[in-house]
């Protein structure tokens, strides 16, 4: 019967394709030790290609791969609020050949997820590499010039105070929640509109559809130069180079507003110290490279190297802050 003959071939071929793909996913094995790395390294980015975390990881991976003399594959595993990709990286063989591109959204912010299939601290903290400041921003038409202006308006009439939040589980949300917490205004009494990303939120603020919001400082630069938004303050230790006229939160009298968008690397629990040290050393060299710094600057990020145990306590402190103010 020609029906069966025709059907058999494509099915067999598809099956072969599936098997080939599953085979690719298997780990080829390999030792770790003094010769680390002796084969290509996979870095799993649990988000889509082209996002902030992805571009920072790619910029670093490029330089790190030259430093290590080994290929570093940046593998995007987007979707599922970062959970499946993070879980995959953290349950890999702890040999230093599969690492996680870590950040708040793959660590501290997971405090907000019910029934998380793994424990946040159950990983080897390798290093925080960079951080990017967050900015508080108001529409130009609001007339607000400082964080205190915003605070006064929010306190005077919370029910008509309009602001832009993101998904509720991002570092930008943490920065906004910290703000309301710090000025003592109950968020539930205000008028909050959620946007899927910083770009959408800033566009809505620029068009004066909502009055106030926050997000990565880098995303505010062009609207600020166009004069459609007013950047009130940025987080971080120093002023943000592209917005040099904007005070830091500490300068604006609010040092407690300290959320930043950081990027780093973690691995499965039980990663050998030799691997953690190799990465610390490599990052130190790579982050000093002006070409790398320039690429990071394009993402609004600056080097902020913190390794091993110190990195771990940083993340756990952030996680505490997340569950305290957002939970």
């Amino acid at each position: 019967m020609s029906y069966r003959r025709h059907f058999g071939v494509p099915l067999a071929a598809a099956l072969a394709g599936i098997l080939a793909l599953s085979a690719c996913a298997e780990d080829a094995g390999g030792g770790s030790g003094a010769d680390y790395p002796s084969k290509p390294i996979d870095i799993i980015v649990p988000a889509s290609a082209g996002g902030g975390a992805d571009l920072i990881t790619r910029a670093l991976a490029d330089a790190l791969s030259k430093h290590f003399g080994q290929t570093i594959n940046v593998v995007n595993k987007p979707g599922g609020n970062n959970i499946p990709g993070t879980q995959e990286a953290l349950s890999a063989k702890p040999d230093g050949y599969t690492l996680l591109a870590d950040g708040s959204s793959t660590s501290s912010l997971m405090k907000l997820v019910d029934n998380l299939p793994f424990k946040i601290e159950d990983r080897t903290f390798v290093a925080k590499a960079t951080e990017a400041p967050m900015a508080y921003v108001a529409s130009a038409k609001s007339g607000w010039a400082t964080l205190d202006d915003v605070a006064a308006a929010a306190k005077a009439d919370p029910s008509s105070f309009e602001w832009a939040a993101l998904g509720g589980t991002t570092i930008a949300d943490l920065s906004l929640v910290q703000f309301f917490d710090s000025i003592g205004v109950e968020r539930s009494k205000t008028r909050m509109t959620r946007f899927p990303g910083t770009a959408d939120a800033v566009t809505a603020i620029a068009g004066n559809h909502v009055s106030f919001g926050g997000g990565g400082a880098n995303a505010m630069v062009s609207q600020a130069s166009a004069g459609t938004v007013k950047v009130l303050a940025v987080t971080g230790a120093q002023r943000f180079a592209a917005l040099s006229g904007v005070p830091t939160t500490a300068e604006a009298g609010h040092p407690e507003l300290n959320a930043t968008f950081w990027a780093g690397f973690s691995g499965p629990a039980g990663l050998p110290d030799s691997v953690v040290n190799a990465w610390g050393e490599a990052l130190k060299v790579v982050l000093a490279d002006p070409a790398v710094r320039q690429k990071l600057a394009a993402q609004g990020a600056v080097p902020a190297l913190v390794t091993g145990p110190e990195f771990k306590s940083f993340v756990l402190a952030e996680a505490d802050s997340v569950s305290k103010v957002m939970g």
Partner: protein, 500 residues
């Protein structure tokens, strides 16, 4: 006029021999990546971005432009030849494009797709140079209620995409909207319709579903029907006929208008432009029953629309720094690497560079035409390869493409399941396009509605008291009324045009 001269200067600056070479290599690489469904323009640009870092700024941007256009066209090529839309915006191209291939007219379909894309790019770049920064600020007037109104207008396209039975089309669109809700709620991150299956947290990927509904289901039903070749006759002429040029050209102009207007708005996707363009073509056609059976307008209009949308997307991107899509977000990042900050000042302070970037986009577009027209003959022959060879090849491409979306086997199973579902739909006469439309518009509809209502504190009058939103909603109501009345009149007269 000064801006127009600047634009010509930009094209001239981008037309140096070495830049042309970068554009050609970029377009070639982009086409190769874009042919794989699941790897759309954004992935192609992100993956190939490091390769361009060795080039000087202008060269790198030109190469990226080539990659971008190459990937977009690669998606259309597989849509036309194999019924596999490489990305959501090529779904509409597949409808009539694949039918043309089955009639041995792959050549004209591919050629018209390339030509109208190029024409749309040309018109786009000229409009860009005249209107540019001035219209960019107008886009800011579109807030959540306006986007909701535009989404509702796009949803009315269901009426013309539904085929003979409107009810079935509406049911399929609703099913698509429902399926789009699976996964994390985009607004509050609540889990919806997940049923404790971790893979469902990420929701269904529209591309995986399309690979199944179109590519895989086509293979299954072709094999079931014992198809020997996609087209068994002698290949006719490869070049479009005069008639193709006239019909396709007009469709291309309308598609350019639709695409350019929507492309100016940061929140709208190129895929929405191509759906609306297909809808427009079907509405203005004297014999709408030709659509779905190989109408050249169905290929030319949407292809022009998504290219024009891409070109128009540069206006908000360059003059306001608002990324209109994942791809423009990447290009925006690339600009910053070279020390340029997008914004209104870019056109005045770095006019040379800005116009060179725009010129590069145009050159990328041109390269694609140069690269693809000679290949049309080769591609067209694909239709004559015995299906016992092509069937498995298509299936393998589909499986790899589904895997490539997120590197998850889950998407492969989804594609295979929707392949079977697609066969069932076809067998029982249920339309698939409204389903895809619902799937694409679902998130936009939900977001617009919920954001608008939280801005207005639950007051529904926000949609009719804002002039732009009210106008667009009125337009949606009017087109619906006209089309429904027209369908009724046709069926009263006993004209069975739509019943075919």
């Amino acid at each position: 006029m000064a801006q127009f001269l600047d634009m010509l200067g930009g094209i001239a600056a981008a037309a140096k021999p070495e830049y042309l070479l970068y554009a050609l290599i970029g377009a070639l690489l982009g086409t190769l990546v874009g042919v794989l469904p699941g790897l759309g323009p954004a992935s192609a640009v992100a993956i190939l971005f490091p390769l361009t870092a060795v080039l000087p700024p202008t060269g790198a941007i030109i190469a990226l432009a080539g990659i971008w256009y190459g990937a977009m066209y690669g998606g259309s090529t597989t849509a036309i030849l194999l019924n596999i839309p490489g990305e959501v915006s090529s779904v509409t191209t597949a409808i009539d494009g694949y039918q043309m291939t089955r009639q041995g007219r792959a050549g004209p379909a591919l050629a018209m797709a390339a030509i109208t894309s190029f024409l749309a790019g040309t018109v786009g770049v000229v409009l860009l140079s005249f209107a540019g920064p001035a219209i960019a600020t107008a886009a800011l007037r579109f807030g959540p209620p306006e986007y909701l109104a535009l989404t509702v207008l796009s949803l009315t396209a269901v009426i013309s995409l539904a085929g003979p039975k409107l009810g079935r089309g509406i049911v399929m669109a609703l099913a698509g909207l429902l399926l789009a809700g699976v996964g994390f709620d985009p607004i509050s991150s609540a889990q919806r319709l997940v049923f404790d299956v971790p893979q469902l947290l990420g929701g269904f990927d529209a591309v995986a579903i399309m690979i199944g509904l179109f590519g895989i289901s086509e293979v299954l039903s072709s094999v079931g029907a014992g198809l020997a070749k996609i087209y068994s006759g002698r290949l006719g002429r490869l070049w479009p006929r005069r008639d193709d040029f006239v019909r396709g050209g007009k469709a291309g102009i309308r598609g350019t208008a639709v695409g350019f207007a929507l492309g100016l708005l940061p929140g709208m996707q190129a895929s929405v432009a191509s759906f609306l363009s297909y809808d427009v073509e079907k509405r203005v056609a004297k014999r709408p029953e030709r659509f779905g059976k190989g109408a050249i307008e169905g290929v030319a209009g949407p292809e022009a629309a998504n290219n024009a949308a891409a070109m128009a997307g540069f206006i908000p991107m360059l003059s306001l720094g608002i990324p209109t899509s994942a791809t423009t977000a990447l290009l925006l990042a690339a600009l910053v690497v070279y020390g340029f900050q997008a914004g209104p000042l870019l056109f005045t302070q770095h006019a040379d560079f800005t116009w060179t970037v725009i010129g590069s986009m145009y050159i990328g577009n041109l390269m694609l035409l140069v690269l693809n027209l000679p290949l049309v003959g080769l591609w067209a022959r694909v239709a004559r390869i015995p299906y016992r060879v092509m069937g498995p090849v298509i299936l393998v491409i589909c499986v790899i493409g589904a895997y490539a979306i997120r590197g998850q086997m889950f998407d492969v199973w989804v594609a295979l399941a929707f392949g079977v579902f697609g066969v069932a739909l076809k067998h029982f006469g249920w339309p698939t396009i409204p389903f895809v439309l619902g799937l694409v518009l679902g998130p936009l509809l939900e977001r617009g509605l919920r954001q608008s209502l939280s801005i207005s504190a639950g007051d529904w009058s926000i949609f009719v008291t804002r002039p732009i939103s009210a106008t667009v909603l009125a337009l949606a109501a009017a087109t619906t009324a006209v089309t429904v009345l027209w369908r009724r009149r046709l069926s009263r007269k006993g004209i069975t045009a739509l019943e075919e």
